[in-house]
């Protein structure tokens, strides 16, 4: 692990400890080691002496702001501390824009992030179970149960979206864990769409039908999505209005994901939590990232950049209408 990463981890622990000691928060949400070495899971820290279990490394992919949705219900007046990466902070900003989280009850620790590694790709590179992952500078050292040890380049293991990250720094935070990273220049990037966009309409239909045929409707994607917040009343699961059939089949599955995409459009910054949570590895980014690209090209809009901004579907600019003329 690089010095910067260690410094960030130390700082997260320190800030959490401080917040709990001062009574600033009732609990603090961060990341901790999971059940297997290649896994990091969310941590809910309530006591000062638990703070040392908090960790930071390139496996901390969870967007923890998902625990804040539905107006931070747990318990209704709890004061909550939470860690956010750049992408996570944008979903938080989207929720703040819609006044769906209570700023006053929130303590946000922003973590500058060099990129999260694609755990799936890493595990697939080995036929054997991975029993240890160590981060050494630019290298990731992986050991398997069979005793094989390999050094892989960190850069090459990055998630596609992290390799072209536009926002390595949090857009909203109370305290920072570590130094801010250089802000990339240039227009926003929407990677991984070129191949899809080049297809004809029929081929696109086929690609999507194939992709969604395997969906098992486990709803992990919408559970994990921080900006998908009508879970109890989700139209995808209600009989009235009967927008979506409950049959688990390619067409209905696609309809369900389309409804999800349109519902989160304008709030979704393509944090990729849905992609990573899908047990059957459906390329959900084809919908969400594509939608964000369209929003940017049509309206110059990017979700969750500034708390003061209005969500795109809540605004009407006369020039938008005049431009159509």
């Amino acid at each position: 692990m690089s010095g910067a990463e260690i410094a960030r981890q130390d700082r997260i622990r320190e800030l959490a400890r401080q917040a709990l000691t001062e009574g600033k928060v009732d609990y603090f949400i961060g990341w901790k080691a999971g059940h297997v070495p290649s896994e990091v899971i969310p941590a809910f820290v309530r006591n000062v002496d638990e703070c040392d279990m908090l960790l930071w490394n390139p496996l901390c992919h969870h967007n923890l702001t998902t625990f804040l949705k539905r107006k931070m219900p747990d318990p209704p007046d709890a004061r909550i501390g939470v860690c956010v990466k750049g992408c996570d902070s944008r979903t938080l900003v989207a929720l703040l824009q819609e006044t769906l989280v209570d700023k006053e009850r929130l303590y946000v620790v922003g973590v500058p992030c060099d990129g999260i590694i694609d755990r799936r790709r890493l595990e697939k590179a080995f036929s054997d179970e991975v029993i240890d992952i160590a981060f050494q500078g630019e290298q990731v050292v992986v050991t398997t149960r069979g005793g094989e040890t390999k050094e892989l380049a960190y850069e090459e293991l990055l998630l596609e979206q992290c390799a072209s990250c536009d926002f390595p720094n949090p857009r909203y935070y109370d305290d920072l864990a570590g130094e801010l990273l250089p802000q990339p220049e240039g227009p926003p990037r929407f990677p991984g769409l070129e191949e899809y966009e080049a297809l004809s309409a029929e081929e696109k239909d086929r690609v999507l039908a194939d992709a969604f045929a395997t969906c098992i409707r486990c709803f992990a994607c919408i559970h994990v999505c921080p900006v998908c917040y009508c879970w109890d009343q989700c139209v995808n699961r209600s009989r009235r209005p009967a927008l979506v059939g409950q049959k688990v089949a390619a067409k209905e599955n696609l309809m369900f994901q389309m409804v999800h995409m349109f519902h989160v459009a304008g709030r979704c910054p393509s944090c990729g939590a849905c992609d990573r949570s899908c047990p059957v590895e459906i390329p959900l980014y084809l919908l969400h990232r594509k939608m964000n690209k369209e929003l940017f090209e049509m309206l110059g809009f990017q979700a969750g950049l500034n708390v003061e901004d209005k969500p795109v579907f809540q605004t009407f600019n006369i020039d938008d209408a005049l431009g159509e003329q």
Binding site: Y229, C230, A242, K310, Q314, I318, L322
Partner: protein, 654 residues
């Protein structure tokens, strides 16, 4: 549930392409349908009586009429079923005319489509619920936007009838385009002489408030209860003190462009557009004022006897509550310089626009009514008029006729003869002469025979300078040869275009406008002065190019429509409004943000949490909140999501 379906022939309008009789037989098979009938004219008295008889005799609880657009007859049939004791919202209209018979030729396919449309209507009416209207109080004040002749006429008519009227005018004086004209056709009477008394009437009327140098900034609310924010632009002169003595204008050393004189002259940086201005108050064009540009001068403030100059004045905003709004924003002159390089594009000094010539002819204009060439100030011996510049010309994107140019050209041709003498040669190049008003054709004839104006039928292809003359090259299509006339002065009959900023205003008011920026009436024949937004009306040239008599006549028509609306003390509101299912509301308040009428509000529940609540009498049923609500907890009565899905399912799966 007992549904009756009535299928109209509409003479042959529907029956020619749709088998109405066959449809009546097939519709009888639909679920819950207990009575079907095909009728020659369902909207006729016997047609309506048939519906009422069926309701009584067959005990119908829902009615579908398959006929024309609900725009035409929904109200008719709602009233019809209501008279027979049914709630009017248990009625649904299936449009098999505009949406089907009129647009198809193949009878078999069209009949099939009509059947599907009927099935959808039956599916929708099945879940319909009885709805009941509310009533709201009506504010009887009126806002008139634009103080030209049309706006003044509307305001005077309404004020005479006892309503309080506010005129908002963006220039410093009311009067509009008419105030800039010299004489009016076909009587050649002085434009100012007939307009200025009306301006003064408006200014002195106890029921009229004039807000000059002001613009409408924002409009909220709905028919009967609009809330309008008006921006009062900073004139840099305290109008409560200014007495209009013009001392400041005389002494001001800086010059600026003269809008009123169409750029024919310059005005002072502090200015009053014309002697009869109402209100007669000075304003500073800060872009040209020495104090604002260079930080020196302040001559006006020193000479002002009323101590009215206020260099620190800021724009202010006032709010007016009104029941109706009349839009009378008028027109502008087509910016010909950008579009007609073949006429010199504004670089030949002796080629001027019709409005500039109007100012030149005017006794209070920049030349004191003396007609002269711009280049050397000599009186012209040959004057050429060119018609249809910026009208009826698709090459410049103006296919419409500006409707006033034929007449004002004839008027100006006659005035040229009287200003410069009978021996002046006057030519008019025209495409067609349009003189359809009362006394108009006779007026053209007088110009030709009595005053000897030469009318040449043909377009002018080119204007160029040669030896101190403006060479006019064109075609005489009646004689079939080219002509070239060395002219001293060329006047372009510049067409009319919508007023600057008209599309922006339309967006502010939420009314429709066409590709040229003219506002759209609700129906060209049946609702010519109403817009599609209830409570907002049109008057004058903002709707389409109009001359003075037509504008004034329409303005009085508009006033009578406004009076009709405001004669009632209460307005019935449509029960087709949004309603919130509070158990599902997450309180994101998007509905409050997007609502153009401020209908949703935060309502605190007993547990201390807040949910959205739609105020029924304020909601106009536009449905924006329904589409915006992320949790889908708002629905529109009469158009519930379920009923729309039922319709879709019937169309796609049924």
């Amino acid at each position: 549930m007992r549904i009756g379906v009535f299928i109209c022939h509409c003479g042959t309008n529907i029956a020619a392409t749709v088998d109405s009789h066959g449809l009546a037989e097939r519709a009888a098979e639909l679920k819950d349908v207990v009575h079907t009938e095909d009728v020659m004219y369902t909207c006729s008295e016997p047609g309506q009586a048939g519906i009422q008889r069926a309701i009584r005799e067959k005990g119908l609880t829902r009615v579908v009429v398959a006929a024309c657009s609900p725009q035409m007859h929904e109200v008719t049939f709602r009233r019809c079923v209501e008279d027979a004791g049914l709630n009017p919202h248990l009625f649904e209209m299936a449009n098999i005319r505009e949406h089907c018979s009129w647009i198809h030729d193949d009878k078999e396919l069209a009949t099939e489509k009509a059947y599907e449309i009927i099935k959808m209507a039956v599916a929708k009416v099945r879940t319909a619920e009885p709805l009941f209207p509310n009533e709201v109080d009506v504010n009887k004040d009126v806002l008139v936007i634009g103080g030209g002749v049309a706006g003044i006429q509307v305001a005077l008519d309404l004020a005479d009838a006892g309503l309080k009227v506010t005129i908002v005018e963006r220039e410093t004086t009311i009067g509009g385009t008419m105030a800039r004209l010299d004489k009016t056709f076909p009587t050649i009477d002085c434009s100012a002489c007939i307009l200025t008394p009306r301006m003064v009437d408006a200014a002195h009327h106890e029921n009229i408030t004039i807000m000059a140098y002001s613009e409408v900034d924002r409009v909220q609310g709905y028919v009967g209860n609009f809330v309008v924010d008006i921006k009062r632009k900073a004139a840099m002169v305290d109008w409560n003190r200014c007495i209009g003595c013009e001392l400041c204008v005389q002494k001001c050393p800086a010059r600026g462009p003269d809008y009123f004189n169409a750029g024919l002259a310059e005005t002072k940086a502090i200015y009053i557009p014309f002697p009869q201005a109402v209100p007669k108050r000075a304003a500073i064009q800060t872009d040209y004022c020495r104090w604002f540009q260079q930080g020196k001068c302040r001559v006006c403030s020193r000479v002002c006897p009323a101590n009215a100059i206020d260099y620190d004045q800021q724009d202010t905003y006032v709010q007016r509550k009104v029941g109706a709004i009349v839009v009378a924003t008028g027109m502008d002159v087509f910016p010909w310089e950008e579009y007609y390089p073949q006429y010199g594009g504004g670089r030949i000094p002796d080629v001027i626009s019709g409005l500039q010539y109007e100012r030149m002819l005017n006794a209070s204009g920049p030349t004191g009514g003396h007609v002269h060439r711009i280049s050397n100030h000599e009186e012209p011996k040959t004057v050429v008029f060119i018609q249809c510049v910026g009208s009826r010309d698709e090459a410049v994107g103006r296919p419409y006729c500006s409707s006033v140019c034929c007449m004002y050209t004839a008027k100006q041709a006659i005035l040229t003869k009287s200003h410069c003498g009978d021996d002046t040669d006057v030519y008019v190049f025209y495409i067609d002469i349009r003189a359809t008003g009362k006394g108009y054709e006779e007026f053209i004839k007088r110009a030709q025979s009595e005053f000897g104006v030469n009318y040449v039928r043909g377009r002018v292809s080119k204007l160029y300078e040669d030896n101190g003359k403006v060479m006019v090259r064109g075609m005489d299509t009646l004689l079939g040869h080219q002509v070239e006339i060395p002219a001293d002065l060329v006047i372009l009959a510049t067409g009319t275009t919508s007023a600057e900023g008209a599309p922006q205003l339309a967006q502010t008011l939420n009314i429709s406008y066409d590709e040229f920026g003219f506002f759209k009436e609700s129906h060209p024949k049946l609702r010519p002065v109403e817009t599609n937004t209830a409570g907002i009306f049109l008057a004058g040239a903002c709707q389409s190019p109009k001359d003075i008599p037509t504008s004034v006549a329409q303005a009085s028509g508009t006033a009578s429509k406004v009076l009709g609306l405001l004669a009632k003390d209460k307005l019935k509101t449509s029960p087709e409004v949004a309603v919130v299912d509070q158990s599902r509301c997450v309180g994101c308040w998007k509905c409050i943000d997007v609502c153009p009428f401020s209908a949703p509000e935060k309502q605190e529940l007993r547990d201390g949490t807040s949910r959205s609540h739609v105020i029924e009498t304020v909601c106009q049923g536009c449905g924006i909140c329904v589409a915006t609500c992320p949790v889908n907890c708002i629905s529109l009565k009469g158009f519930t999501t379920d009923s729309l899905i039922d319709q879709l399912e019937e169309a796609l799966l049924g």
